[in-house]
Chain length 202, copies 3
């Protein structure tokens, strides 16, 4: 159930972030769907390979594909809605996808009884897959490697779950919301330490 | 049997397309073989991972490797034969590889009894693997994402197979030939809607 | 045992090469750890997928992660130690990682009784994974494809192991050392035939 909900959140979120990057790169309609799908399910494939879920499960998840299709169609139908704010929307959906996948990785590693630093590594590696694939396919350097603030939130998820502090469903949903809010605040208030920022940081 | 034949078509085709891209990028002899192999078998690995075939099967397919080796050696021995027409040859072998892998993905998803849109997604994702890997390794944006005409042919394969309209061996071979012809006609007559085209489209 | 030792050599070596590339690309501290981990374990994931080891084994190898963490921390603590010699250090650790992973791939394919050319392909493909992932994530063309001298050493490993000439533990360690030395000599004496070299080759 929890797993399903994290997927229902993470896969469309990555699909939307891929679709918006496709708009930004001036890809056409099919490029938009392909990049969205590859981002969402490429991220899912990496996560499945890393935590040992059969990859073919993807093809049984018709509902997730439908969700991704609908999500991308909304982006495609209202391309101007994302206007100048593309970057923020990409960051938002990227944050949602990353957080939900990272929580899955953290839970998996924690349940196997691994020590904290292994949980943290599993959290980061499962969380970043979708975003890294999206950026590579768009011909960009992966944002995760340029903006280390991402990694801080991933590590926080790993610490909270790996230490056994947050493992209840309610706790994990709360963690998801908090991480997404922190991520967006770090954008708004320029906590981001990236060398590519244009405004002075706080 | 059908599976074997699609592999015997698809793997050398991707190997040749990788080798020609290596020539274009001024890679040396070993770069040519490495890029050709990684394109052919990287595409195969992605397809196997996606549709649940053990990846280690690759190492039992000595004949396919020999076929890829011979195909790449022909490219290496006659580098000038491909001359100014590199781009068309890349597109031709890419079309053959993509179509045969896409048909495999479509058949697999169809046999599992999935609804049409899942078959289409499986078709596109298994078809594009080799070309995407080749382009990433050559430092290029994946052509599949810039030239949406590719996706149309992939989707056509998905629709024909996923709707159960074409599933006989003869029908699938015919489909393969038709898709490759349509792909090449779309190049010749500039059906390609890519923003990189130099000539007016029809 | 042999397997463990090759991992203990290969994974930290790739981690360090990733960390140094991160320094070179001006990534920050977390970028350094992420790139190092993804290089080391991405290379391991590719190798495991290719030779049929369950990928989830990675998460049981806490000691390897600790080794990678310590190795990257040394790079992070003494960033200036690598100074102008970054390139040589990257090449050194890349050579160590590549050789140890390549020997694993060669051994695996040889033990399955494959003919020589299959062993060579398995050797090259398992050896190059880590370096290719590192270069793609740093926004670079994979060095393996530009500097064909790499492939020569990989093929030498494949020939020595695949022909059954070197299969004893002592022999394989010696092979590892020899390949790393040959690789570094090819840098020092400009045996490298890359079109990017600045000095005349011997």
């Amino acid at each position: 159930m929890l797993w399903d909900i994290l997927n229902i959140i993470g896969i469309p979120a990555f699909a939307i972030s891929g679709a918006i990057v496709a708009l930004e790169e001036k890809y056409d309609l099919f490029g938009l769907y392909v990049l969205g799908f590859v981002t969402a399910f490429g991220g899912g494939v990496i996560r499945n390979v890393l935590i040992g879920i059969p990859v073919t499960n993807l093809w049984s998840q018709g509902n997730l594909m439908l969700a991704a299709l609908i999500a991308m169609s909304i982006v495609a139908l209202f391309p101007y809605m994302w206007g100048n704010r593309w970057r923020k929307w990409i960051l938002f959906f990227d944050a949602v996808g990353l957080s939900s996948f990272a929580i899955q990785g953290a839970l998996f590693a924690h349940k196997m009884g691994h020590p904290l630093y292994v949980v943290i590594v599993a959290t980061v590696l499962t969380g970043i897959g979708g975003g890294v694939i999206r950026d590579l396919l768009a011909g960009r350097k992966p944002a995760i490697l340029r903006e280390e603030i991402y990694a801080i939130w991933c590590i926080m998820i790993g610490v909270c779950v790996g230490s056994g502090w947050i493992v209840s469903e309610l706790g994990l949903y709360t963690l998801l919301v908090i991480i997404v809010i922190l991520r967006m605040m770090s954008v708004h208030y320029h906590w981001n330490l990236s060398i590519y920022r244009k405004h002075p940081s706080v």
